[in-house]
């Protein structure tokens, strides 16, 4: 026994211990009841937590693996399908019109001609006549 422990009055220690134990023995019934409920909940929690953890590990592992494989396949195939299938159908089918539209929009003179035509249609009539003349002369 260490010198510190030798100095501790054993009689006081015993009396304090006895008093505390008596106070514990006199804890009210409703406190005991609530402690009992808490204990039952804790025991149920221990049982519930362990079993599903094992079951989840066994049952969900194949499903998780299949899901991961499906996601991986979709990820690998998705860029190819987008480039090879969808782009040619949508872009190539309208490629001619799209390019003409772009030229018209980019060409400032074209727009001037259109606005001039709205103001006066004589230029277009003249141009058409010239074309007809050219074709008949050749």
């Amino acid at each position: 026994m260490s010198p510190i422990e030798e100095q501790i009055p054993a009689e006081l220690e015993r009396r304090l211990q006895g008093l505390l134990e008596q106070s514990v023995a006199h804890v009210d019934g409703h406190i005991r009841s609530r402690l009992n409920q808490a204990r039952q909940a804790a025991v149920a929690e221990a049982t519930r937590d362990r079993r599903p953890a094992l079951l989840r590990a066994v049952v969900l592992m194949p499903a998780a693996g299949a899901l991961a494989a499906a996601v991986l396949v979709a990820f690998v195939l998705w860029p190819h399908s987008a480039q090879q299938v969808e782009l040619p159908v949508t872009v190539m089918a309208d490629a001619g019109h799209s390019m003409e539209d772009l030229d018209l929009l980019a060409d400032g003179d074209g727009l001037d001609l259109v606005s001039a035509e709205e103001a006066d249609g004589s230029f277009l009539e003249w141009a058409a006549d010239q074309t007809d003349v050219g074709e008949t002369s050749t």
Binding site: S2, I8, E13, L16, V27, L35
Partner: protein, 196 residues
């Protein structure tokens, strides 16, 4: 992979059941003392119940698969941490409330006058004597520094040895001995007159 035979399942079930029984038995053995320790530290019945319930659930969730002989220090470690957290929260709440110019609805903090009214039920003299002595002890305990109070309750009421107490408190064994000695000296100084 071969399937587990039924015998393994039964063995697992029986192991789980025996562990549940052991846990139930352990908690039943410590719950009243744990409540008393929490009540002394927190000075509130509901808070003490909350702290004990939290410790029970945490032990069951995190340490139920540990050997039962390790449960007691772990349980009291969880309980002490919970008590400390609750005391800190109270301190912060007290500081915040003290800054508020007007104190609002404090019905929850005020003691219920019905509960505070003296009981007219006759008490046996022995019980009254114990209650008086316990009241004096509680007052003396509440006057102790937190660590001394903690060591005293764990060693005297729960009967943890020095090593277990050190584990539960997260300190050295030398520190436990020092706190315990000082707690007893202080209690003797305060309660000596009451008991002579």
């Amino acid at each position: 992979m071969p399937l587990a035979p039924h015998g393994d399942v039964k063995l697992s079930d029986s192991t789980s059941n025996s562990q549940s029984r052991a846990l139930n038995q352990f908690l039943a053995g410590v719950e009243l003392k744990a409540f008393k320790i929490a009540q002394t530290a927190l000075r509130n019945e509901d808070d003490a119940l909350d702290a004990v319930q939290h410790a029970m659930l945490q032990l069951a969730r995190a340490y139920a698969n540990k050997p039962p002989e390790e449960w007691k220090p772990l349980f009291y470690r969880i309980l002490e941490n919970r008590i400390r957290d609750m005391q800190r929260r109270r301190t912060v709440r007290g500081k915040v409330i003290s800054w508020l110019p007007l104190r609002g609805n404090e019905e929850d903090d005020e003691p219920d006058p019905i509960n505070q009214a003296p009981s007219h039920d006759p008490q046996p003299p022995r019980r009254l004597e114990i209650a008086e002595a316990m009241g004096a002890l509680e007052r003396a305990l509440q006057g102790l520094p937190r660590r001394q109070q903690q060591v005293f309750m764990l060693r005297t009421l729960e009967g943890l040895d020095v090593a277990e107490t050190a584990t539960a408190m997260g300190c050295s064994e030398g520190s436990v001995k020092t706190h315990y000695f000082r707690a007893l000296q202080s209690l003797r100084a305060q309660l000596g007159e009451f008991w002579t």
